[in-house]
Symmetry: C2
Subunit: 420 residues, 2 copies
């Protein structure tokens, strides 16, 4: 097995040090590198000053064999990074014809005049290999210097992602003969990390030593990622997949998908398979439930609408919640939320409906119903189901949790395919 | 003027290097340090390995006089950081009685059994000064070692923020005699950075040399932050504020607030001052408009509800949009969105209403109405106003931009206080 290189990530820009921009590029790079089995040794964010960039480059190459650099490549940054890199490698900038043609083509297509600053994007240090950037004007650059690989990418996230995926990761795998690695992701919802770990402890303990399970928690659930490192035996992936039926059996209804699928996406598929339409009635979630559902492209095929009934009058007038129900049980009650779901079905003319009502906080709590009291309901032609939950981690998280739990309630009660 | 120290930020945790967690702590610290006039020299994220933490500490103190460390302090992290720090400073861990009492108090209050791991949170390196953490169990720690200040804080964001605000920033100001610095923030919306800069170029050029203006862009607008550094003359802040009337005059209706106020918050205040209620009718924004409005605590005082009419049938049945209007102009048209706003006013029984309809993408565009075509409308008792806009930067950003523009439309057309 070849010795794998450590990787260092360096992001350049005063705006990172001032905290005006949150560095999300490093997290993406870290995730993708972990997926191919490479370790990130350190992430550094440095200023736009040439001497400080050089000092950071010197330190990075002491720690790692690969240094991935982002930022400082756009025309507004005065191409600082590539000038610094040219000086660092004691070479000069040369014109890269294919990049110039690419940039010219982009400006022709958008019918915009090309400025000198745009033309300069085609200048690159003479010792680099250019990585073609199909989604922007600043090219990626690959350097090898005394055994260390340096790669420079634009700081614009979607350009960096394109270059990482299309050029940098495959090249690193080839250059360092990184052994193949496979991942299988199982999405779960509704079970905390420690409960989940308990249910699969012996399954996990019995995994071959080249298989590793990672718990990746999110609000309301956990993604499980099984990673298989090559062991010289054939059929790595099929052997991993053969372990999944037992995992699914242990976790039962908590598993909602395999692969990188969001809960709202999984629900869209279930609805489309059954030819069912969905609507929502929202109080405490204030529109976020509908927003999560409609964040999936194509959701208009099954999602018809929502009635956000923040005020009790709207609950009565638009959702036909009875005044007596509100008086007897209050707006945050299973009784009210059931009527909201049923009202949404009728009013929106949908097959299935979800409803939410809760005390998101910070105010509005009582002794009986403290902040974090949440009621959710699901209704279809045959049944109405409701739940009362408690979750209190601040207004925003309370609302996000409610949305996830409501989506899950739908998933668990949607009629089976044959019935729908 | 005393020489100001450079600051180094160090975040500890394998989860940062794997990209499982995005480091938002550094951005907060960078912002707050910039506000008091201190420069961040570098931000480093390092692993949980003791030798790598020590190497990073050695390098950080070479570059800066203050090193702020977060992460590695919770019980689940096995208190790694403080053990490493104790060894780094060649001292041992000692029990800090006030912290033990504080932790015991928290467990008593929640009536939970205290484990040994919780008790160990009261152990701190003998050479540190403890910074009291009122919002958690892991204390902050302040070290001075051969002229360098090291501060260790928990990685939990709200605990780090508490310690920064209450203890670290004031102590740094005092310890290094940081001269006072004042900030005045002016919030604008609806004008791009370069247009805005043009309108105030000569105003900005005429600022005293100790006043600096920062442009902080967000989707749909720009925050302007005027920073005043002490110049030995009295009344720094009043002198800064005296410049604002001219700035406001230049930017006119684009200014919506002074200070750290969100647009949805500013609108809530305007509605409350006028005693008006608000409702929304949403197509392309799919609930996000209502969610942004209801993300403000107390919004139930003026926001009654929303009808998310994703489907045309819902637009007709719940918002009384005419079939002829939809047939003649389509769902994405000023005609339709005006009827939506008027329908929402009637159906929700609100004083003023906002409506949105657009092609968020990635699909659904036509030659006439490409992806990114957006229509918004405002309606009150006296008038209905609509706009057609174009904005295409991907589904999620298109929707977010539409929400901001709709909120701004309301702000610009709400009746003046005397009329309402």
């Amino acid at each position: 097995m070849p010795l794998l290189p450590d990787v260092e990530i360096m992001t350049i820009g005063d705006e990172l040090l001032y905290g005006q921009v949150i560095d999300t590029n490093s997290a993406f790079m870290g995730q993708e590198l972990a997926k191919i089995g490479l370790r990130v040794r350190q992430i550094s964010s440095v200023s736009d000053r040439a001497d400080e960039i050089v000092a950071a480059l010197d330190q990075a190459r002491e720690r790692a064999q690969v240094v991935l650099i982002t930022g400082g490549l756009g025309p507004t940054k005065d191409d600082l990074t590539k000038h610094v890199l040219a000086r660092y490698f004691q070479t000069e900038l040369v014109l890269h014809e294919p990049t110039l043609e690419h940039v010219e083509g982009i400006f022709r297509r958008f019918n915009r005049p090309m400025l000198d600053v745009n033309r300069q994007q085609a200048l690159v240090p003479a010792n680099c290999e250019v990585l073609f950037n199909a989604v922007g004007t600043a090219p990626g650059m690959w350097f090898e210097d005394q055994g260390t690989v340096f790669v420079s990418m634009p700081g614009v996230p979607h350009e960096m992602k394109y270059l990482m995926t299309e050029a940098v990761l495959p090249r690193l795998q080839q250059r360092f003969q990184v052994p193949p690695i496979e991942h299988v992701v199982v999405q779960t919802v509704g079970l905390g990390e420690s409960f989940l770990a308990e249910q699969i402890a012996d399954w996990e303990a019995a995994l071959p030593t080249n298989f590793k399970l990672a718990y990746l928690p999110y609000l309301g659930g956990v993604r499980l990622r099984l990673t298989g490192h090559a062991d010289g035996l054939p059929d790595l992936r099929p052997r991993m997949e053969a372990l999944l039926p037992e995992l699914r059996a242990r976790l039962g209804e908590h598993v909602f998908a395999e692969g990188e699928v969001k809960l709202e996406e999984a629900i869209g598929r279930l609805l489309q398979e059954r030819g069912l339409t969905l609507g929502t009635a929202e109080s405490c979630t204030g529109g976020l439930l509908a927003h999560r559902i409609t964040s999936i492209p194509g959701s208009s095929a099954y999602f018809l609408g929502s009635i956000v009934a923040y005020d009790n009058r709207v609950k009565q007038q638009q959702l036909d919640v009875k005044a007596e129900t509100l008086a007897a049980y209050g707006a945050v009650s299973e009784e009210t939320v059931r009527e909201m779901a049923e009202g949404a079905r009728q009013r929106l003319g949908v097959d299935v409906a979800l409803a939410t009502s809760g005390i998101a906080g910070p105010d509005g709590g009582t002794t009986d119903k403290p902040v974090g009291t949440i009621c959710i309901a699901y209704a279809d032609a045959h049944q109405t189901v409701s739940r009362r939950l408690t979750f209190n981690r601040g207004r925003q998280l309370n609302v996000e949790y409610t949305v996830t739990m409501a989506l899950n309630l739908l998933r668990l009660h949607l009629p089976a395919l044959a019935e729908a």
